[in-house]
Structure formats: structure tokens, C-alpha cells
């Protein structure tokens, strides 16, 4: 159901919308002030009631994650809030708009979040390339500090909150929360084994919550509306997938961009109503939420004959008409991910698209686990051969085998993030891959661009 909302993006397009004056005009920082006066449990319950599923890709409920933290910091064991703005997932460009166009919602969210988990310091981890985003966040921190909203006594309340921006240095893997923590500590961004989970031993060995930047920036809205009312904005409130969020669409659409809507939007609405329709012919497929989420073909139908299956109400319908939710898309065998879709028209070659993405994963594998380090290289080299016209049908089986050998055999989810989309392409475009191999590439336009 297409329902545009205007909570997170209301200052997009407002002149100087990134400055504190614009934010205060809209009632900015009132919720942070209110939060600091609440009992912590009340705040956490409010966030739990909001049913905000983490906006970074995993879709874990934010309030539940906060609940994993110790109720109060022990002496010598400070808590930390870490905000993930690494935004490296191919196809994803939503957090950047928040940082550039409305950084104060993130800073206010940091105050609320820090209090909610008992932290006094929040680190916003931004990928290095986003220089404007970092400058806007630092600018917002300075403005908030000058007004007495940050520091030892925010709003005159005795609860220190400091917010810092920490720059990455060009590594996709640092979007993985434990790799991010290592990077924050000045180390190589290699993911850590879990357990211990960050809530037990995270940044600097202390209890830590890592939340995506959009999740944090949504906190003022949650408090303004009330947790339950926020959740009910969503058509999937009943599935505990609440509120509104930023949807992105890129690739072969006429009007790519970021759009704020209530949860429950369908891919068809995202592509045709918001994205302006497919550029360059008919729709071939959509990668629903960043490159690690398995691709969906335009002609796929929902197969959920069991009346108890969560997707049963959509049984027999096009996958494009299923509301985009964390659990609904898991039911489709893919993931909602970051909610930023990449659209491929029929003029794009799926073999070339997979090759492009596998090159990305080979480049970004941190190298710590052998199945991923070697497997991503094998995937790319095998696809090099296929794209070069020298592939064989055995190569297609080999790709399956390599992907299956990565799956489940690595420390972090990067392995699945590589193997799942690889298997998705291979299964859903088997005929196209076979034709490509048999004709040495002549069956394909061998192109991605229009």
C-alpha cells in the first residue's frame, strides 16, 4: 500500500534544512529533552512498542536489541552507543540523505539512544567517502552543543551525552557491526566471533549497542507519535514491522531516488509509482534491498499454499505485490535488507550483473575466513571465464558448489551476503546462464547500461 509519510524527510528540500534553526522550528530536540526526564524502562518500552526493525539490513527489532544491554552500567564498565553509517551496501543511499539534509535528527536520536542504553558517548561511524555527511554531522554537533543540548548537562539535566563522528577508510566489511567495532578501535576491520555479542563486550570491550543511522534518526519521531502510534503507521503492524522508513530505488528506473513511506509499500509501487517506471523496456528483475539480497524475477509468483504461512494471503500473486517487510521478504526467499532496490530492465544481462556484484564481493572480502576469501575469488574468476565466452556448463555447477561452500562457513554474514545473491542469480536465470555459455555470450546484449 503506497502511503507517503513526511516524518524523516520533512526538511529535505527546505533551504538550510540542515541547520538547527530549521530543526527547532519543527519542534526539534523536544523529544530528547523529554526522554532524559523519563525512567529508562519507559523509554525502552516505548521503542519496543514502535516495532522498529533495524534499518541497516538485518531487520532486528531495535527495542529488543536495547533490552540486551545491562540495565545499568557497572562501575568501570561504561556503555557505548555506536551508530552505523557505513552505508556501503551496493544500491543503498538513504542514510546519506539523512546526514546531509537533516543531521539534527541523528544527533537528537543519539541523545535518546544513549540514554536508552545507559551510555554517555555515541560514536557515529561514517564511511570516509561521505565528506559532506561528516561535515554536516560535525556542524550539527557544534550547533547542538552551543545550545546546551550536548555535553555534561544537556537541557540542564544531569546526564552527560557526547556525540562524535568517526571516519572509516574505505572498507565495505566495516558495515558489519563487529568489524565496525574493530575499526572504531583503530584496528583492521575484521569481524569478531560472536558470542560475546556487542551488548556484552563491544566497543573497547564494553557493553555496546550498534544501531543503523536511520534507526537512530527515527527515534525523535517514535517519541513524538508514541511507540504504538508509530508502529501503526505500517500496514505490517500486525507482523511487528512498524512505522515509516526510507525506500530507495536505483538502476533502470525513470526517477531514481529516496522516498519516505509507511512500511507496507510493494515493489511494484516502488518501481512504477515512485521510481517512475522502468527505463529501457520491460522489467526483468529487482534486487530488493541492496546487493546481498537475492534477486526477484518480474514473473515470480508467491508460493504459500499453507494457510498458516505468513505469506498465504498473497499466494499466487506476483512477488511485486507483496508488502515490503522484514518477514514477508524472508518468506519470499530473499531479504528486505536496506530497503533500497536495484531495478534491472530486460536490456540488462543477468550474467553481467552477477559478474559485477561478484567482483565487488571479491574486492571487499576481508580475507579472514578461507571459504569467503578464496570462494569470492573463485566466483569472480569463473564468471570472468563465462563472460569472456569461454565458460562451460560445468562452470555453472561449479559456481553453485563454491557458493554453497561459503554459506555458513564464515565468521560473519558477509559469506551469506555473497553466496545468497550468487545462488539467486544462478537459480532464477539458469536458462539465461546456459544460453550465454552455449553461445559464448552471443545470446546476451553483454551490457548493463541502457
Amino acid at each position: 500500500m503506497l502511503q507517503r509519510t513526511n516524518y524523516l524527510s520533512s526538511r529535505y528540500g527546505v533551504p538550510d534544512g540542515h541547520r538547527i534553526e530549521a530543526y527547532l522550528r519543527d519542534g526539534g530536540y523536544e523529544q530528547a529533552k523529554r526522554a532524559l526526564g523519563m525512567p529508562r524502562k519507559t523509554l525502552v518500552d516505548e521503542v519496543k512498542a514502535a516495532n522498529l526493525r533495524g534499518r541497516g539490513g538485518a531487520g532486528f527489532p531495535m527495542g529488543v536489541k536495547w533490552g540486551f544491554m545491562p540495565p545499568e552500567p557497572k562501575p568501570g564498565k561504561p556503555h557505548y552507543l555506536v551508530v552505523n553509517a557505513d552505508e556501503g551496501e551496493p544500491g543503498t543511499f538513504k542514510d546519506r540523505t539523512l546526514m546531509e539534509l537533516d543531521p539534527h535528527s541523528t544527533i537528537e536520536g543519539c541523545i535518546i539512544g544513549a540514554y536508552g542504553i545507559g551510555a554517555h558517548a555515541a560514536y557515529v561511524y561514517v564511511r570516509d567517502e561521505l565528506h559532506l555527511s561528516k561535515a554536516r554531522l560535525w556542524g550539527a554537533i557544534e550547533e547542538a552543543r552551543a545550545r546546551g543540548f550536548l555535553g555534561p548537562k544537556p537541557f540542564g539535566i544531569d546526564y552527560t551525552v557526547e556525540v562524535y563522528v568517526h571516519s572509516g577508510a574505505g572498507a565495505y566489511i566495516c558495515g558489519e557491526e563487529t568489524a565496525l567495532l574493530n575499526s572504531l578501535e583503530g584496528k583492521r576491520g575484521e569481524p569478531r566471533m560472536k558470542p560475546p555479542f556487542p551488548a556484552q563486550a563491544g566497543a573497547f570491550g564494553m557493553p555496546t549497542t550498534v544501531n543503523n543511522l536511520e534507526s537512530i534518526a527515527t527515534l525523535p519521531t517514535i517519541l513524538k507519535l508514541g511507540g504504538e502510534a508509530f508502529s501503526k503507521l505500517s500496514a505490517l503492524h500486525g507482523m511487528r514491522d512498524g512505522g515509516c522508513r526510507l525506500f530507495g530505488v536505483s538502476g533502470h528506473v525513470k526517477t531514481p531516488g529516496v522516498f519516505e513511506c509507511a512500511v507496507g509499500l510493494t515493489l511494484r509501487e516502488l518501481v512504477y509509482d515512485l521510481g517512475g517506471g522502468v527505463a529501457g523496456g520491460k522489467l526483468l528483475a529487482v534486487i530488493p534491498g541492496g546487493s546481498s539480497t537475492p534477486i526477484l524475477r518480474h514473473d515470480e509468483l508467491v508460493d504459500a499454499p499453507d494457510p498458516k504461512a505468513p505469506l498465504h494471503p498473497w499466494h499466487g500473486q506476483s512477488v511485486l505485490d507483496v508488502p515490503m517487510g522484514v518477514d514477508t521478504f524472508r518468506g519470499l526467499g530473499t531479504m528486505l535488507g536496506t530497503c533500497c532496490a536495484i531495478v534491472l530492465s530486460e536490456r540488462a544481462c543477468p550474467v553481467m550483473a552477477m559478474h559485477n556484484l561478484m567482483r565487488f564481493y571479491r574486492h571487499e572480502s576481508c580475507g579472514q575466513c578461507t571459504p569467503c576469501r578464496e570462494g569470492s575469488g573463485w566466483l569472480e574468476r569463473t564468471l570472468d571465464r563465462i563472460v569472456g565466452g569461454a565458460g562451460t556448463l560445468e562452470d555453472l555447477d561449479r559456481l553453485h558448489e563454491i557458493a554453497n561452500n561459503i554459506m555458513g562457513n564464515t565468521i560473519c554474514a558477509f559469506g551469506e551476503g555473497t553466496a545468497m545473491p550468487a545462488l539467486g542469480f544462478l537459480r532464477k536465470f539458469r536458462r539465461e546462464f546456459e544460453d550465454f555459455v552455449r553461445t559464448h555470450g552471443a545470446s546476451s546484449p553483454r551490457n548493463l547500461a541502457l
Binding site: 561504561p78 552505508e87 556501503g88 551496501e89 551496493p90 544500491g91 543503498t92 543511499f93 542514510d95 546519506r96 564511511r127 570516509d128 567517502e129 561521505l130 565528506h131 559532506l132 562524535y164 568517526h166 571516519s167 572509516g168 577508510a169 574505505g170 572498507a171 565495505y172 575499526s183 572504531l184 578501535e185 583503530g186 584496528k187 583492521r188 576491520g189 575484521e190 573497547f204 530507495g248 530505488v249 536505483s250 538502476g251 533502470h252 531514481p256 531516488g257 529516496v258 534486487i287 546487493s291 533500497c340 536495484i342 531495478v343 534491472l344 540488462a348 550483473a353 559485477n356 556484484l357 565487488f360 574486492h363 571487499e364 576481508c366 548493463l448 547500461a449 541502457l450
Partner: protein, 159 residues
């Protein structure tokens, strides 16, 4: 030859270190600070960072080699990255990259003989909605056409 930061950057270094509960956490921001001044991370810079933050030089080197932003050799006065990941590729990034290579007379990964421009490819720059994108030093150029890219590159040569 030992490496030293300018007095203003020394002050910035102190501000950076103060943000974290230990010195090592400042490693990446301090490497950025050094690279801003020196252009790349030489052995002297690595030693400087190690000494300043009380880390083994090998550990600093491990960090430098892990992250793609840190240059392990000198680069041109300007650095240009062309994003080539899927969303940009669907909107003409390959053509854009070839255009840049042809116009500069170098391949991606190389520096022009006059030392003005280092051309590189980038993986997803989070600008998918405004693809294709090219990053020039600290600035994004979005919705690029080959003509506009040529103009930008020509403008860099004289700076």
C-alpha cells in the same frame, strides 16, 4: 627523514585523541590527518603514527594495508574515483570510466605523467540514485555525463 605534523594538525591530533578512551582508537583518524598533509602513508608516517599512539609499527601497517583509502605510494595532486558497482554500471559507469581513461591517456590505477590526476575505480559510493558518480578528492559529481566528466578532468589539470 622523520615525519612531523604542522602545528595546526598537531592541535587537531590532540582533539582527535581526546575523543576516545584509548590512544589506539585514534589510529584511523590520525592516519587520515597525516595523509591529508603528506598525500600518502610512507614508512615515516607509519612510524610517526605508531610512536604517537603507542602502537607497534606493524600494527599500524596492518591498518594501512587493510583500508583502500590509505595510499601506500605517492599519488597525483588530485584523486579521481569512478564508481563501477551495479547501480552505477546500469547507468553507464563502464562507458564513463573508459572515457576518463581515454581522455587522460592512462588506465585506472595510474597517475597522469604530469602528476596531476590519479584515476581509480571505486566500489559503491552510496550515490546510486544519482548514478553514475565520480568522486574528485572530497567532492561527489553525480548524474555524470561523459562530457561533464571531461570538463571536470580538464579543470583539475590546471589546479
Amino acid at each position: 627523514m622523520t615525519f612531523a605534523l604542522s602545528p595546526e594538525r598537531e592541535q587537531e591530533l590532540a582533539r582527535i585523541v581526546a575523543r576516545y578512551p584509548n590512544k589506539q582508537a585514534a589510529c584511523i583518524p590520525v592516519l587520515h590527518l597525516c595523509q591529508e598533509q603528506h598525500g600518502w602513508i610512507s614508512d615515516e608516517v607509519t612510524r610517526f603514527v605508531a610512536d604517537t599512539l603507542g602502537m607497534p609499527a606493524a600494527q599500524v601497517l596492518g591498518v594501512v594495508t587493510f583500508y583502500s583509502i590509505f595510499n601506500q605510494q605517492p599519488v597525483g595532486r588530485h584523486q579521481v574515483w569512478v564508481c563501477r558497482t551495479l547501480s552505477c554500471a546500469l547507468r553507464g559507469a563502464e562507458g564513463l570510466l573508459h572515457q576518463c581513461e581515454k581522455h587522460l591517456g592512462i588506465h585506472a590505477g595510474q597517475t597522469t605523467p604530469d602528476g596531476a590526476i590519479t584515476l581509480r575505480t571505486a566500489e559503491c559510493l552510496a550515490s546510486c540514485g544519482t548514478a553514475p558518480v565520480m568522486q574528485v578528492d572530497r567532492t561527489y559529481h553525480e548524474n555524470l555525463t561523459p562530457e561533464r566528466a571531461r570538463e571536470i578532468l580538464d579543470g583539475l589539470r590546471s589546479r
